[in-house]
Symmetry: C2
Subunit: 360 residues, 2 copies
């Protein structure tokens, strides 16, 4: 039998098989005290979580950005690359409802790289980390024919166990059929900014600066994650791959299906002006928004909405979760008239051209 | 002025400049409680250390292996690659005197990679982690034209503060002139194994299997690190780049110089048989031994030696530290007759062909 290749099974299936290996091996003999028994959330969520001391949890996440895959020198300068690489990790911690603390950064680059460019990368990483009280405390530099930035970020939960004994964090596994779906901020702006950078008529109008900013220097929603936890929300994650792709992950994890009201998606009027009717598609699957996606009972999401509103943020209802038996697909898109909506683009999955993450 | 390139300043200088950026930025405004104030050891040591709860310290390290730079498919299969990538991180934790706990692994590979190869890589990582009670709890997979494995490993100190109030860990900054220098195990075996793999006469004799094993599946010295701490040793690090290169790091960090007695280096008789008189050079700068290097007062190293001996390990004295004013170079190599010894190979530094890490 011909050996299977990674691109044939796709990222999700690969991660599942890798997790299986780790689980099997994790059960093996250990020379030292088996601290991983305190592991609370393992592979599959935005981050790993373990209990540090009674009632306090550490959260760790890692993300890599590869030249030519996640960024190009055309649309990203070094400072912004550092910012985005760190922001995507901070966002993963925010997506767990945690607070980022310590980052380790690995830079792979050729020796021909300009020193000042590397230092700009460091500045970008440090600046966005610093905004949230985190710092780069270590790392590694390696020579490589290809530029790649890998960051690991370690944080912790901000609160103790909840009154009902559940963990003070957001997980993609705690969704329930009947939950409403909500997102913070606005969607699609980063993708809109990228489109302008790639295809926008030159010179780009200053009016679109907020879209470019959303793409170049996304702002992770750490405080919003804390507020969601405070409001009692328990299902959430960050939006890195687009609403459809990320919502599919929640649906898989919790074995539910989702109905998204596309006319309720929070869009920046600037985005609509810049890309016209494609705004909805960018909001659905543009990716790199680094907003938060959450689900929960109506009254809890209403409490969360008020809490975010009081803190200068927004939370918008965009749909509901249903039982898998009540749905034809993991994600159904409907417009305000109740008609089904067909998107043109779908979420991004590594290794495969069009993975099952994006089936709608 | 022409911009400086990374290869012109070398890895050490680059890291120093990056650390400077992080330090400056770390002092900036913070939205959240400034937990990094609890940071104990930052950039420059084997790992970052911070106080978790009173008297207990977390240790985090990260290491990347790049195809064509750190390994080639010719001499390393996927299982062994996973083993080595994880072992080098476990060794960094061991070099701090810590216990490894949770690992995050990032795999960059092309979609053309065979799934079974990737799973073998996972098995190698999980097996060596499991030997020391650690587990892979998360990670990331990204598509990349080039194979690269980046692991971050988080551990903790095994003991509380010492009686004198010092941290229960090994640091490269705590060396003092007058200290003796010691290493665990034997040196040069991994480099000897690599030489056999690359240039050995085929078929390779089974008698050399231990050398190949030392190269393919190095065994980090976690227990030895614990025992060194228990014995009262406070200066130590792991040997990844060769004795000369790594000892230079201790000398720089503590502003001392070292005299190494090359005839005292612990060599495997098999290594001498395999590579003849080059054994000494491989022990000095072959790299990837993943033994521990430490310095300390004679009586403390003697206590450590007895403790390791009682636990089936060895500790060998290989030299002494002197004041920088008493030495012509950071590292002086002398033979049993007291004559100076000139090595043929030097330690490996990224980005530069022959960095100052290797000046002897």
């Amino acid at each position: 039998m011909r050996p299977m290749k990674v691109r044939e099974i796709g990222e999700f299936e690969l991660i599942e098989r890798m997790a299986q290996v780790y689980r099997e091996k994790g059960a093996g003999a250990r020379e030292f005290a088996a601290a991983p028994s305190r592991l609370t959330v393992g592979i599959g969520d935005d981050a790993a979580v373990w209990e540090d001391v009674a009632g306090r949890y550490s959260i760790a996440t890692t993300d890599a950005m590869v030249e030519g895959v996640h960024f190009t020198k055309t649309t990203t300068n070094w400072y912004d690359l550092g910012w985005k690489a760190m922001a995507s990790n901070v966002s993963d911690i925010a997506g767990m409802g945690g607070i980022p603390l310590y980052a380790l950064a690995v830079l792979a680059a050729t020796g021909d790289q300009e020193v000042e460019a590397v230092l700009d990368l460091c500045r970008g990483m440090a600046d966005v980390a610093g905004l949230f009280g985190a710092a780069v405390v270590g790392g590694d530099t390696v020579s490589s024919p290809l530029t790649m930035v890998t960051i690991t970020l370690i944080g912790q939960t901000g609160a103790s166990l909840r009154a009902d004994g559940s963990l003070p964090l957001l997980s993609r596994y705690s969704a329930r059929a009947g939950d409403l779906i909500a997102v913070t901020g606005r969607l699609g702006s980063s993708a809109g900014g990228l489109e302008l950078l790639l295809h926008g008529k030159r010179p780009l109008s200053d009016r679109f600066a907020p879209l470019l900013e959303a793409h170049r220097r996304p702002m992770p929603r750490v405080r919003e994650g804390q507020l969601l936890v405070e409001a009692g929300v328990s299902c959430g994650m960050d939006l890195s791959d687009g609403l459809v792709g990320d919502l599919t992950r929640i649906c898989r994890a919790a074995r539910v299906a989702a109905v998204v009201d596309v006319d309720d998606l929070p869009l920046d009027p600037l985005l609509c002006e810049a890309v016209g009717e494609r705004a909805t598609d960018l909001a659905l699957s543009g990716g790199e928004d680094y907003e938060l996606l959450c689900t929960g009972p109506a009254e809890i999401l209403e409490r969360a909405r008020r809490l975010l509103d009081a803190n200068g943020s927004t939370l918008t209802l965009v749909g509901r979760l249903v039982g898998v038996d009540q749905a034809q697909a993991p994600i159904t898109l409907v417009d305000a008239a109740g008609d089904s909506y067909l998107p043109r683009r779908s979420g991004w999955e590594h290794f495969t051209a069009g993975g099952d993450a994006a089936k709608t």
